[in-house]
């Protein structure tokens, strides 16, 4: 019998709310955080909207020692980790350092920091490049800094698989806990709303060029024409269930199942891998499709990708067979941060008996999904599925359940 792995703490930095209370109130209330970019002047770029995390003042939340060596993405991750640990009632200094690890995901690393150092290099010379550039840009930097700040020396790492990475990291954290580490800090934060990061994102050709915040990111809508990127995500405290119960922890729920696939090469004639990833996750959790109360969709807002997702969901759950929602319509797509934020929403939906809505969209009838639209839906939620797809063909799915 493999041991059960549970989530006991959440730390959230979302474009529609900083901190778990603000985020959840905004999300249930249908409040969007998408707007014109303020972190740089976007007027010369084809895409001008983003979901930016509001009101984050790193200087008030982190020691001065960490500021010269961290990008915004790492500052958000460190603070979210602090909040998640506090939410879980964990004081890391009181626990054995090798019993705690950190596994996060990243799609970009510290782009804004890196941009500044590259500008210094080319405009002034190599002696003007910060020594901290050696790691501040790097994908693994959030895991490393969380580990150092909290004295966590157990198994640690980073997963890079675009938007699917947030679930892949949680799966890796679950493996490490099953191998004997009692606590892993997981989840992900991504943030690269800066010119260099923006051009890298534009290269995918999947960004929406609409300038109207309520019309720019419309998954499952006939007018779907790309997505709005955002910054942020969620950090999760994951623990061995028995250890968590032994210390009397409040338990949000269990990470019950995981599945991941890679799409076949284009033109191969084989079907996309999303359905299989969902089926693998359900089988791993030991739950039937009919047991799932809500699906947090990937919601690519690309007509072909939306069709594939709708087909996969209808194939597994039956036509309009399960409630589907995409609260990321309020935040934009957060890359690695998106799925951990959806996991946080799933646990809060379980806790409060309410499914947050999908906003702004008028769903195309042919997708035949039971989308939760405009208003939150009251429902007993015991089991939820979170789906995430990454650029390059990554498909991942995680099943979470209410604590037994």
């Amino acid at each position: 019998m493999t041991s059960s792995v549970v989530v006991t703490g959440l730390g959230v930095a979302s474009p529609n709310g900083l901190g778990i209370q603000d985020y959840w109130a905004a999300t249930v209330g249908g409040k969007s955080g998408i707007g014109r970019i303020t972190r740089f002047d976007p007027s010369s770029y084809p895409a001008k909207l983003a979901g930016e995390v509001p009101g984050f003042v790193a200087e008030d939340l982190l020691p001065s020692r960490l500021l010269p060596q961290t990008d915004r993405v790492t500052r958000l991750a460190l603070v979210a980790a602090d909040w998640a640990l506090a939410d879980a009632g964990i004081t890391p200094a009181e626990l054995p350092e090798f019993d705690m690890g950190v596994v996060t995901a990243s799609a970009a690393g510290g782009f804004e920091f890196g941009q500044g150092e590259l500008q210094a290099l080319w405009s002034k010379g190599s002696q003007y490049v910060s020594a901290y550039q050696s790691f501040a840009w790097f994908y693994a930097v959030n895991s490393g800094q969380i580990s150092i700040r909290n004295g966590m020396k157990g198994p640690s790492g980073v997963v890079v698989s675009d938007q699917a990475g947030g679930l892949d990291a949680v799966a890796q954290a679950r493996r490490q806990i099953r191998k004997g580490t009692s606590l892993i800090v997981s989840g992900a934060i991504d943030a690269s709303v800066c010119p260099w990061g923006w051009v890298a994102q534009l290269a995918s050709d999947r960004l929406s060029t609409s300038e109207e915040p309520t019309r720019a990111y419309l998954p499952f809508d006939r007018e779907a024409a790309g997505y709005v990127p955002g910054e942020g995500g969620a950090i999760l405290i994951m623990e061995d269930a028995e250890a968590a119960r032994a210390r009397g922890a409040r338990i949000y729920g269990e990470v019950s199942g995981y599945g991941s696939t890679i799409d076949p090469k284009a033109g191969s004639g084989r079907p996309p891998g999303l359905r299989k990833a969902i089926e693998l996750a359900l089988a791993d959790a030991g739950v039937a499709p009919g047991d799932v109360d809500v699906v947090f969709a990937d919601a690519a807002a690309d007509p072909e990708l939306d069709r594939q997702e709708a087909e996969a969901l209808n194939a597994v759950f039956g036509t309009r067979g399960v409630a589907v929602t995409a609260p990321k319509t309020m935040t934009g797509r957060l890359y690695s941060g998106a799925a951990p934020l959806d996991l946080a929403a799933a646990f809060l939906a379980i806790k409060d008996g309410v499914i947050p809505p999908t906003v702004h969209i008028d769903p195309a009838a042919e997708y035949d999904l039971d989308l939760v639209l405009g208003e939150p839906r009251t429902a007993e939620v015991r089991t939820a599925l979170v789906v995430a797809r990454g650029y390059g063909g990554f498909n991942s799915a995680v099943v979470v359940r209410a604590a037994a």
Binding site: P63, P68, S134
Partner: protein
């Protein structure tokens, strides 16, 4: 061009380069306190050394920088470079 490098100069550059550890008082008697005890690891000192080089127009030897484990030792290294630069 400044010709002497003081503890005040070092403290200012340390703060810009790497901030200050909570619980460390840089205004205390730190001249002979090891950088490690003050909370500055090798990378923080590398960044500090780089900023001193830029500001004072000197070049600090890597070994000299590594061997200077206290503020007094680092200040001496910098001043030795400054005086040899002005003598040259």
């Amino acid at each position: 061009m400044a010709t002497t490098f003081t503890l005040e100069d070092l403290k200012r550059i340390l703060l810009e380069a790497a901030g200050a550890d909570e619980g460390v008082d840089l205004d205390g008697d730190i001249l002979d306190t090891e950088f490690e005890v003050l909370g500055y690891e090798s990378l923080a000192l590398l960044e500090t050394g780089g900023r001193i080089e830029r500001e004072y127009g000197i070049s600090l030897d890597d070994d000299a920088l590594t061997d200077a484990t206290t503020p007094r030792a680092l200040i001496d290294v910098v001043n030795a470079q400054l005086s040899s630069a002005s003598a040259a």
